[in-house]
Symmetry: C2
Subunit: 231 residues, 2 copies
């Protein structure tokens, strides 16, 4: 697959963009990575995702696909000759989709609230929600992996990608707020899983270094706190 046919509109620090990139790596698809600038949106992005105007967008020939989990499924369904990303059994697929939706609708929003919390009480409440979520995810990991390395078995699958893309920001959150989130005490399986995930060939060149992401997070927070220009 020539790289001119496949493009990812994204940004190196976005967990959602990582999902598309890891999926393409699993399928050994070359792609061009077009990075958006912080605070401005390219014409190509506005044209390709006019509804949400958000990254990631996968461009495949003349087709544009948005929404990270939709993109992962599209990649899995188009490049079928390589390793499968979704499990083959319909129930296993349903479980993977269920937890992926949980991550995006409940768990990651709680993690984002840790950085945005106003005061210690709010921060503590957000940390508690994230840790309670990790207990649920530890249980899901035990059931899905059946003693293997990943949620998807011996290879990275849909739910590994859905959760694993957040590991960079999870580590930044741990560092910035001096808190342990994935912890031996209540998520021993996920501790090992996270190591395996980050060391995987499809992931390691895409996962941002914690220190670099930490510095970027400070720029991002400063930008969010700065007074907005009048419209």
């Amino acid at each position: 697959m020539s790289s001119s046919e496949v493009k990812v509109l994204g940004a190196w620090a976005s967990p959602f963009v990582m999902r598309a990139r890891i999926s393409l790596n699993i399928k050994s698809v070359d792609y061009e990575f077009l990075q958006e600038n912080l605070g401005s949106k390219s014409e190509l992005l506005l044209k390709s995702n006019p509804v949400h105007k958000k990254i990631p967008v996968l461009i495949h020939g003349d087709k544009a696909i948005s929404e990270s989990l939709v993109i992962v499924q599209y990649i899995d369904e188009v490049w079928t000759s390589s390793e499968s990303i979704l499990p083959s059994d319909p129930y296993d697929r349903a479980i993977a989709r269920f937890w992926a939706a949980y991550l995006d609708e409940k768990w990651f929003p709680s993690m984002s609230k840790i950085a945005r919390a106003r005061g210690e009480e709010e921060k503590k409440a957000a940390i508690k929600l994230v840790q309670e979520g990790l207990v649920l995810l530890e249980d899901a990991y035990t059931k899905c992996s059946k003693g293997k390395m990943f949620f998807g078995g011996e290879k990275i699958g849909f739910l590994d990608i859905a959760l694993g893309c957040f590991l960079g920001w999870l580590r930044v959150t741990e560092k910035a707020h001096k808190v342990k989130l994935i912890d031996e005490a209540y998520s021993p399986g996920l501790v090992k899983w996270a190591e395996n995930f980050c060391a995987d060939a499809a992931v390691k060149d895409v996962m941002p270094e914690t220190d670099k992401l930490y510095e970027f997070s400070k720029v991002l927070m400063a930008k969010m706190r700065a007074p907005q220009k009048p419209a």
Copy 2:
């Protein structure tokens, strides 16, 4: 398929429950419909969906599946000998999944805000968002249906189910707030589509009557506005 094997935990008025029921009807799967009572949750529901404790839940033998769009996909992947619900082409599938996510994350929350608005300004803003969404959906309908009856072509498909399940509450909202939402002026295709959808064999016995749903909505609103019992 014997009805004892398949159960839907739900409620007649829930749009999300309708998605599961319509999908089972399309596949000609008999099922037992176990209705939850308003304001209390059955032991079976709490056990079957411990994370969200929400309807719908599809019970298939010893398996429980939650989240309406996950359920629809599960049904499509298990009962493969009948009509397919998702489109066969990966890009068409991606487009259907994209709009289904848009409906649940953006469009339906705006419609819910019409009833919950505090004051006329908030209500007007919510109505405007719903109507703008319908303009986008009209465009999506034109592109997806390619002149056929449904988003999915000649038969009801994934996106038809995802949007169509909201038609009952849309009509109740129109009646309660004296506003036209799906309208000849900006969504002529959807006017016709809605008629076709509600008349479909898989839908007509599941779609609630507007007057019955309207009466129920008044009970629901009164319950929501009532002072909460202390915990």
